[in-house]
């Protein structure tokens, strides 16, 4: 048994180590050390908790058993998961943090003595409020992440689910959560506590179903933020510095990522949250109905163009992940480099289904990270490049975002792909992208459409080089 002051000091240390873990991610060189700091911080926090409880009876044994079961499952998943499934994995993990927060809150509510929070039916007011916030946010994180997971996994359709009065219903439920919390604090009734949790689960579901598949980068970041706030809420209940610091870090991290993602789509946070995007843009679809001529080619043409180029910029998107084409792409690039062609990669902030998704996939395919550039870094280079190779991206290359104020994506930052001497566009068909609008790029003079599966086309080009 160690003193409360000593354990609080250790919790502070592990909080600082968590800050260093995030700090390490400022560059790939320091990132692995950062992750190591994070692990040390976690080991300290868990060890100190054991020592401060100081109850080494039989319960201790079971804690280890459950720790090992969970840890084993986690380790297994971590080693088995393919990199393309990272968005699903992260969504799944968020749901677990949320549920764990709910369970800890329930446990504290049933047995407040264990946490020095008072007695059942007479819990300290501040603790009860903190507990309710932790439980409610945790429950929202859990059910919201489950929906996000199902949508990403394709079990549930990625199309937005909307119905009449949706926003009103959500608003009423959110208000009812506040009222429930008030009455819970006034009466200490355990029934109200259960109702509060149930209603929070429900609102988590309702908040995420109207948001479409391509807005998932925002949703995942947002749920990441929620899981942080839930942890912070529990941290206040338990008066635990490590949890409070971590909750604040994770909360602000997720919020910043959501902001970056929204900016990448030139949409406000509320616009994304209210959902329904991509389902309501019928007017712009009808307008472009007339058939326009497109030039299409095969792998041979593409190989010819690239062989005669001196610089090529690759624009990967979610389609590359779906087709698992990153390794084939890397092989193609290797062949190009052997012919002394300069190759770089251009990544749009919202390419893929989560922040940084494309970067991880390219890293997995052994693409050196100093050949991969963000939108602002590379956008001016398109004018000087010979070939742009668009693989699995669509809306993020649409020049309409710069030219047509009527377009739903007007103002969104896009990659200036059309400025290249020639554009190779790998796509299965001419169907519009997620925003539901036609891509002007398809019909440009200098665009050659390559209608095929991304992976197969890339392999064929490599053969022809």
């Amino acid at each position: 048994m160690i003193s409360a002051n000593l354990s609080a000091t250790f919790y502070l240390i592990s909080g600082v180590l968590f800050i260093l873990a995030l700090r390490g991610l400022s560059s790939p060189e320091t990132s692995r050390q950062g992750n190591f700091y994070g692990i040390i911080g976690m080991v300290i926090a868990v060890t100190v908790t054991f020592l401060s409880v100081g109850n080494f009876e039989s319960g201790f044994f079971y804690v280890f058993i459950f720790l090992l079961i969970g840890g084993g499952i986690g380790a297994f998943i971590a080693f088995k998961i393919p990199m393309t499934a990272m968005p699903e994995l992260v969504a799944g993990f968020h749901s677990l943090v949320g549920l764990a927060a709910v369970f800890v809150a329930i446990s504290a509510f049933i047995n407040p003595e264990a946490f020095n929070l008072g007695f059942p039916g007479n819990i300290k007011l501040a603790s009860l409020i903190e507990m309710s916030i932790g439980a409610a946010v945790g429950a929202i994180t859990f059910s919201g992440s489950i929906i996000a997971f199902l949508k990403l996994q394709g079990i549930m359709s990625g199309a937005p689910i909307t119905f009449k009065g949706q926003h009103l219903l959500n608003a009423l439920i959110l208000i009812s959560i506040v009222i429930l919390t008030y009455f819970l604090c006034a009466t200490q009734s355990s029934n109200l506590f259960w109702v509060l949790i149930a209603v929070s689960f429900l609102i988590g579901l309702l908040l995420i179903i109207p948001i479409g598949g391509a807005d998932m980068p925002v949703v995942i970041s947002m749920l990441n933020s929620y899981s942080g706030w839930a942890a912070a809420g529990i941290g206040f209940t338990l008066e635990n510095t490590a949890l409070i610091i971590t909750g604040a870090l994770v909360g602000s991290s997720g919020a910043i990522l959501s902001y970056i993602m929204c900016k990448g789509m030139n949409r406000s946070f509320f616009n994304v949250i209210l959902g329904g995007f991509g389902a309501t843009d019928q007017s712009s679809k009808d307008k472009n109905k007339e058939q326009r001529p497109v030039k299409s080619g095969n792998a041979d043409d593409a190989a010819f163009l690239m062989k005669n180029a001196s610089s090529v910029i690759i624009v990967p998107g979610y389609g590359m992940a779906v087709a698992q084409a990153q390794h084939a792409l890397r092989e193609m690039v290797d062949t190009l480099k052997k012919n002394d062609i300069k190759v770089s990669y251009a990544i749009h902030p919202v390419a893929g289904r989560m922040p940084g998704h494309m970067n991880v996939l390219l890293a997995e395919a052994n693409v050196p990270y100093d050949e991969v550039f963000e939108l602002e870094e590379i956008n001016n280079d398109f004018a000087n490049a010979d070939v742009a190779f668009v693989i699995g991206a669509n809306d993020v290359t649409n020049p309409v975002a710069k030219t047509d104020p009527q377009s739903p994506i007007y103002g969104m930052p896009v990659l200036d792909v059309e400025k290249c001497k020639s554009v190779l566009f790998v796509k299965r068909s001419l169907s519009p992208g997620y925003a539901g609008i036609d891509n002007d790029l398809f019909y440009k003079e200098n665009t050659l459409m390559l209608f095929a599966d991304a992976k197969k086309m890339t392999e064929d080009i490599t053969k022809n080089l």
Partner: protein, 103 residues
Amino acid sequence: MEIDPFIFRLSIFILSIFVGYYVVWSVTPSLHTPLMSVTNAISSVIIVGAIIAALANSEGKIFNPSTLFGYLAITLAAVNIFGGFLVTQRMLAMYKKKKKDKK
């Protein structure tokens, strides 16, 4: 009058938000996916609450409703801690390859 300890915790909380704000803005965009998985892992420090709940051992029983929720929370948080840190490690290891690959 004495200051309520809550105020101290609130101070830590608010200041940590600011620390988080500046630290996360300095994270390079190419590492945003590992950022999410590592924040996932560290937010599972909620396991400390789960351990306290599980070991509370009131009424001399190891398993009662309160500890049972604690054990469940331990399992969930442990999945996240091990899964989160290991998958981050796996991703970051891939970022190793750099300039020497170039011709």
